[in-house]
Amino acid sequence: MTGYLLRRLTLAIPVLLGILFVTFSLARLLPGDPCHSALGEKATPEICAAFNERYGLNEPIPEQFRIYLRDVLRGDLGNSIKFGRPVTELMVERLPVTLELSFFAMTFAVLIGIPLGIVSAYYHNSAADVVTMIGANIGVSMPVFWLGLMLSYIFGVALKDTPLWLPPTGRLTAGRIIEPFYQAWGLDVDGSALTLPGFIANINTLNALLVRDWDGFVDAVKHMILPAMALGTIPMSIIARMTRSSLLEVLGLNYVRTARAKGVHELGVVVRHGLRNALLPVVTIIGLSLGSLMSGAVLTETVFGLSGVGRILYDSITGRDYTVVQGFTLVIAVMFVFINLIVDTLYAYLDPRIRLE
């Protein structure tokens, strides 16, 4: 196992270097020059020269790449040209939003998708199966942004004045502030957001739980429901379909028949013997979906007015904020590589027949 992990990590190095190279050159390829987009059209050549000097933009490209590599390895992702703040600081601010959103979306997808898949497989070819599969097919075909807009219309406007109303935008009701847990606990954390406590405090729901602000927690969760539904529908449909086909295959196997013959009750047969073995491909799918969640996050965050990673990436790509583009794509791509690694390892752990050599 350790050997396998080491080899996978070694193999990841060229990919990571490639990612660094791509992010670096993509940022350089973006048309338009960062000086004018940061300082406005009227920046004089002198001001631009000073600007380029400050951000190291007047070095030759290979030198820039070398400096960039050195800084990345030191954990310094540079300063945002537009915001004038360290990229890492922005990350502490934005990443929690997307993580929270992804967590809720995945929870939604798994909690709804797997039971739907089980029902669909168990009552194979019944009306419930047909309806579920039609639903799942429609689910993967829906544009995320459209679903988000329609959900915010249905729950935010059409169901207004009913108990089903949900806030259509934002992370918290305007004016509500949840006290950061480190303040509530009297921890001595300096004001900068550059810290792990700051990161955790930015995950609203978790922070609300930590400070036991129940109203705040309910409010934060309420704001997360619609974005999570919009973002989670595609993974949910994929998970439901995967669970169904995988469970169908397993339920036809001999050991399931044996279990039935032994007199194990149906729930035990389906869940203990069937589902446990059928979940393997589902785990892979969940891992792969985490990747596509980032694409959906750009759209979901746009529709629901959340300032997360997707949103800042879009803004900085179109606003030519080189360092932010580099920093965030790098972190996302690295997360991707490691999620894939974790999924592969988990796969072996769940299925003892697979040996990782």
Binding site: N137, L149, M150, Y153, V298, T318, V325
Partner: protein, 643 residues
């Protein structure tokens, strides 16, 4: 493939000797298609696809409008931004249908529709009732001490000005309360706000009083020896036009001094400003005069046989139309101002008492005591006849031009004058959404097919070469693909589009680039699977060229998964293209692309959800069609999965 087991030559059918005759296996393709056609979901997918392709091909015949045309022109006046859709089967109001009605239960003395068409008010007895002009709900009743003789809405719909007894009442509609009372000695029979709501006038038979609404003071009083027959503001509220006897006069609205007199030989029958108040129309005897409103010179005289009255304008300067009209007994005549030639003669059939041109001058109404007729202002055809039992007090055009407000002595109503209906409503740029959705099918199908074709070609070649050649070539190509796969697809596409510049073609290229690794992987594994087969080795021994072996021998055997992947990929490509357009990086306005349509109206989702709903549904159906077809193909090509 051999088709029959050769039967032995000394076959004796009488003997128990058995000849094994296998049915000739069908070709793989035929078998696949037959299996595909047995799957209901694939059939649905094929059906949807056929439907979409038909729509895309026949789009010009299916669409009711030009997808880029702004629908404000003849004869579609009355179109409003983000109009709700109207589905015929569910009953759409047509021309002549009463859209909304208010019945006060007492004789109506005066009535008015607010300038945004959202409220309407009627004065009856001592009360003014206000209705919501979209659903006909009675909103409020404003009570007065005496009978109300005149009323008018302020231009922003916030206030009602009413005359009752010797008082003028100003009601605040938001607070539903009286905000002020002013005194008009002798009682006013007419009240009018100016166009920006900073002034208003009140008039009785001989006096016009001008009021300031900032200080709420009387500015001036204009006396007229003869009874007034017309009182009108100019556009910016600096001049007041009065007509009495044989003179039309213009007054300074700030101090009440006379500015000019337009003298006529015969007593006047009507006088009115045009909408931009640069001209004045007067009728007197058998003549119609057009005056310049700044030099006060006569510009045009139109001679007519018969007595003219009710002179008014039918103009839309933006469309280059400036006509005047006047009635002579039962007939209305329309003249072109630029040339003075008579354009139309509209036979109303009864004595005409009022006429009006629609805001864009596409329609004209004429009114007699019990009948309103609406005419096409270009052809002179009669569009509509509205009959009322009770005498009609007043008719005005809705400011949108889609209907007329008719006040009779027992009810007030808004009657639709146009028959045009929009299946999916009107977008924020006044275009027909249905036509745009129909034309969008073309773009989406083209985008889906071209992106995937491009990605398949590049991906397959690079993947096949990697798999076939192996070694460092394989390593380099597949590591590049790994790097590309490490980026979230949409983020990579956004980055590529930003490098190339926004636009449909660039979005298309960006999506192709993002999809290449998927096909490269599939092609490579397909090649690896058959690379070591005997027939490949045989070819190699025979000295067949590498390219021929790869593309003629190996690839056809690795094609099946590629086809499945490509079909499913079209759906994803359409979704991603729509997402890019939604973000403003793909198709640029005014291209009728579904994602772009959705993106343009996304901020209006709370007020006009239909503008978001229909393009989204269209995207969903298209993607669904390809997904169902792809799933069906996968099952058909791999019978093991068929269940």
């Amino acid at each position: 493939m051999h088709s029959t087991e050769p039967a032995s030559s000394n076959l004796d059918l009488a003997a128990a000797d058995v000849a094994i005759i296998t049915k000739p296996p069908k070709s793989l393709w035929r078998e696949t298609i037959e299996r595909l056609l047995r799957k209901p979901s694939a059939l649905v997918g094929l059906g949807l696809l056929g439907f979409l392709v038909t729509i895309a091909i026949f789009a010009p015949f299916i669409a009711t409008h030009d997808p880029l045309a702004v629908l404000l022109d003849v004869p579609e006046e009355g179109v409003a931004k983000r109009d709700a859709p109207c589905i015929h089967l569910l009953g759409c109001p047509g021309a002549g249908d009463v859209l909304v009605k208010g019945v006060p239960g007492e004789p109506v003395a005066a009535a008015a529709l607010s300038s945004t068409n959202s409220l309407m008010a009627a004065a009856h007895g001592k009360t003014i009732s206000v209705w919501n002009a979209s659903n006909g709900k009675l909103l409020m009743s404003l009570e007065h001490d005496g009978p109300v003789t005149a009323l008018d809405w302020s231009p922003n719909d916030q206030k009602i000005l009413a005359a009752s007894g010797e008082e003028l009442y100003i009601w605040d509609i938001n607070r539903r309360a009286l905000s002020r009372t002013l005194e008009h000695e002798g009682g006013a029979s007419l009240v009018r706000w100016n166009a920006d709501g900073t002034r208003f006038l009140s008039a009785d038979e001989h006096t016009v009083r001008l009021w300031d609404t900032l200080a709420w003071t009387l500015v001036a009083a204009i006396e007229s020896p003869d009874p007034l027959l017309a009182v009108q503001w100019n556009q910016n509220g600096t001049l007041v036009l009065t007509a009495s006897g044989s003179e039309a006069k213009l007054w300074n609205a700030f101090v009440g001094t006379e500015v000019a007199t337009l003298a006529h030989d015969v007593p006047l029958t009507s006088a009115s400003f045009n909408r931009s108040t640069n001209r004045i129309l007067t009728t007197s005897g058998d003549k119609l005069y057009i005056w310049n409103a700044s030099t006060f010179q006569r510009e045009l005289t139109i001679d007519h046989v018969g007595t003219l009255a009710n002179g008014t304008w039918s103009e839309a300067i933006s469309r280059g139309i400036q006509n005047v009209m006047a009635s002579d007994g039962d007939t209305a005549y329309v003249w072109r101002v630029t040339t003075g030639e008579q354009v139309l003669a509209l036979e109303h059939g009864e004595p005409i008492v009022q006429m009006g041109g629609s805001p864009l001058a596409t329609r004209i109404f004429t009114r007699s005591e019990h009948t309103v007729k609406v005419w096409d202002a270009k052809s002179g055809d009669r569009v509509l006849t509205i009959e009322r039992d009770a005498p009609i007090l007043q008719v005005t055009w809705q400011s949108s031009g889609g209907g007329v407000f008719v006040a009779t002595s027992d009810e007030i109503s808004v009657v639709k004058t146009s028959d045009y209906q929009y299946l999916m409503g009107i977008d924020g740029n006044l275009r027909d959404q249905f036509s745009r959705v129909v034309f969008g099918a073309r773009l989406s199908l083209i985008v889906g097919l071209t992106t995937v074709t491009l990605a398949v070609i590049i991906g397959t070649i690079s993947g096949a070469v990697a798999g076939y050649v192996g070694g460092w070539v394989d390593n380099v190509i597949m590591r590049i693909m790994d790097v590309m796969l490490a980026f979230p697809p949409l983020i990579l596409a956004i980055a590529v589009v930003t490098v190339l510049g926004p636009g449909l073609i660039n979005a298309l290229l960006a999506i192709s680039v993002v999809f290449i690794p998927a096909y490269a992987r599939v092609a490579r594994s397909g090649v690896l699977a058959v690379k070591e087969e005997d027939f490949v080795t045989a070819d190699r021994v025979l000295g067949v060229s590498h390219a021929r072996i790869l593309f003629r021998r190996i690839m056809p055997n690795a094609l099946a998964p590629l086809i499945v992947q490509a079909t499913l990929g079209i759906g994803t490509a359409i979704l991603d293209a729509a997402a890019l357009s939604f973000l403003g990086l793909g198709a640029q306005p005014p291209t009728p692309e579904w994602g772009a349509m959705l993106g343009a109206e996304r901020n209006q989702v709370f007020t006009a959800p239909h503008l978001v709903f229909y393009p989204g549904i269209a995207i969903m159906i298209t993607v669904l069609a390809f997904n169902l077809l792809g799933d069906g193909l996968r099952d058909a090509l791999d019978p093991r999965l068929d269940r």
